[in-house]
Amino acid sequence: MKIYLAATAALSLLLSTVGSSAQVAATAFNSAPDLAYEAVPNFFKAPAGDYMGELQGVATNSKGQIFAFFRGPNTRLWQFDQNGRFVREIGKDFYGFMFAHSVRIDRHDNIWTVDEGTNVVTKFNPDGTKVLMVIGHRPSQADGPYATPKGPNPPDEKYTLCRPTDVAWDQQDNIFIGDGYCNNRVVKYDRNGKFLAQNGGPAPGKGENQYNLPHGLQVDHQGNVYVADRGNARYVVLDNNLKWKTAYTQYGSAWSDCISEGPHQYLFMSNSNPNGNAPGSWKIGGQIYKAELDGTVVGKFGHAGKLAPGFQVVHMMDCRNPNSIIVGEIESWRMQKFVLKGSK
C-alpha cells in the first residue's frame, strides 16, 4: 500500500514536472529561425589528468582570455588563453570559494566571482593576483554544516547575501547582484560596494517587482538590467534604478542571459532543459535564443543532449562576441565554444 502511494506520488510529481516543462517550452520555439552554427570540438583543454566539474560560470576578458568557474571536489577558477589552452588556476583554496555560481569580467577586465556556498561575491584584479573587494560575508564555521534553508527565507539585509547568483555592472561601474536562491531580489551597490537600492524581497513571488529565483543578470550600455527570473520563466527588464519596465515571457526556462558588447547589443537567453530531465523534456528544451534588447527574437540554436555538442543544462553563456558563444553546462561538466554563422 505504501509502495502504491509512493508510486502514485511519484507519478503525479512526474506529471506535474512534465506539465511545467511543457509550459516552459518557449512560445518562441516554433517561430524563431534556426541560426546556423558550428561547435568547435574539444576546444578547451584541461591540464593532463585534471578535470572540470559542474561548469557554472564562463566569461572572457577584453583580450579574449577565457575564465571558467566550476564545482570540482573544490570550487575552482581556471584561466584559458584565446585558443582554449589552460593557463593557470586562480584563487586555489580561496576562502570565498565553496560552491561556484558565476564568473563575469567587468569593463576594466577585473574578474568577479559569485559563490553561493560562501555567499560572497569577490572582485579580483585582472591578473587574479589580488582581491580588490568582497561583498557579503561567509557564515561562521562554528555554525557547522547546514543544509540549504528550506523554511522562511532569511531577511534581505543590505550587505548579507543568501546564495547569490550573478553580478553585472553599468557604465558607471555600479554593481548589480542577483540574490539569489533564498532571497529573491536584485541589489544595486555603488562602485565602492555601498548599498543603493533593491528590487524584490526575501519571499518569492510572481507579480511585478517580485522574483522566484533571480538566477542571472546583465546590464546593457544604457544601464538597463535584464534579470533571468528562473522560477517564473521570464526575463525581467529594470531601469538603472531598479524600477520595473517589462518582462519577456516567451523564451522558456530563463536560466541565464548574456548581453553582447559592441554598438549593436544582443540579448542571449538560455531555455536550459530542466535538472532531472523528466522524460520528454529532451524534445522541448535546451536551445539558446538570440534577441534584440527589446525582446524581438533573432533566432535560436542548439539542443539538449548528454553528448557534445548537445547542451546538458546550460548554466552560463559568454557572448562578448555575438558570433562566438562560450557555453558552460552543469550536468555535463563541460564548456563548449560555438561559432554562429547567421541566419540559415
Binding site: I3, A6, A7, A9, A10, L13, L14, G49, D50, Y51, G53, E54, R71, G72, P73, N74, M98, F99, E116, G117, T118, N119, R138, P139, S140, Q141, D143, G144, P145, Y146, A147, T148, P149, C162, R163, Y181, C182, N275, G276, N277, A278, P279, W282, G305, K306, L307, A308, Q312, I330, E331, S332, W333
Partner: protein
Amino acid sequence: MKRLATLLLAAAALAMPAAAQELGYATSQPLTLPHDTFFGMAAGVATNSKGNVFVYTRNGEPTVTLGGSRTFAHGGSSLYEFAPDGKFIRQIGKQVYGFLAAQQVRVDSSDNIWVVDRYSSMVMKFAPDGRQIMLLGRKPESVDVPSSPDTGRGTPPGSGSASDLFQSPTDVAWDAAGNIFVADGIGNARVAKFTRDGVFVKSWGSRGTADGQFKTAHGIAVDAGGNVYVGDRGNSRIQVFDNDGNFKSSITSGGDPEAICITPGAHQYLFSSNSNPANDLDRGGEIYKLELNGTVVGKFGQAGKGPRDFGSVNAIDCRSANSLYVAEAGNWRVTKVDLH
C-alpha cells in the same frame, strides 16, 4: 507483505543447490600500488580488451564543508589502472567531482571506462584516455550527515521513478547496440534504460518481492541476445528481462547475488557471488558459475580472510571465463581467480 517476503526467501534458500560441484581454483593478488598507497574498500574491478585492470575503491576521506550555505561533500574514492601483469599505471580522475563513495567500475566493448558512485548517485563515462565524455545522474548539491536514503533529488526511494536521476546506483551494463542499463540500485530499486547517447528511454521495477520488483537492484549484466540480468540482492534471485524490461524468469541457483557478471564469447556463462554480509564471515561467500538458464556449472570459494577466501565480493570481472578478478569490499583487496 513481510511474511510473504520471508516465505519467498525461505523458498529460495531451499531451492539452492545443496551439492553444486566444487570448481578447482587458484588465487593471487597481482595488483601492486605505488608506495604508501593502499586499497580501501575494493568496490569495483574491471578489465579492458588489452587486459588492463581498473579498480574503483573507497580509500580516502570524504570531506564535508563547514561555514557555508550547504553541507557539501567531496573526495573519498579513487580509480586506478594497472597493466595486465598487475603493475600500477596511473590514477584516473583525482579531481573528479563525482568520486565520493566507490560502487562499481565497468569497461564497455570500446574500452570506455564507466564509473558508478553510490554517494554522488552518478554514472560517469570516461574515454580510454581518461577524458570524461558522458554523465548520467547528478550529484546532490547538499548531503545529509549521516546520509538519509532520500538524499538527493527525484521521487521517493524505491517508488520506481521514471527519471534519469539515481539514488545510490550500483552497476551499469550495455547491450550490443550500446543501450545503457543502470541498476538503480539501493535507494531506488529499479533499472533505467538509456540510448547510447544518454537519452532516457524507460525504467522498470520498484521495491518489492513480486516478479519485476527488487529488494535492491545490486548488479546488472546483459547477454549477447540483449536480455538483462539483474542481481536482486535481498530477494536471493537474479531476474531476467528482455531488452524492454519485460520479465522473463528468475534464477535462484546463484545465491543472494551481490555481484554478477556474464562472460563474452560464443558460450556465455553467468557468475553470481553469494557474498557474505560485511559483519558475518560464517556463511556464504561462494561464487557460482551458471549457464544463462540458471543451471549450475559449479561453485568455488567461501567467506573468510584467508588467501583462498572471499570477503564480501562486490564485483566480478569475467572477460575471461577462467580467469576472473573479484573486488572484495570486506577484505580491501582485489583477487585474481584462475579456474581449472
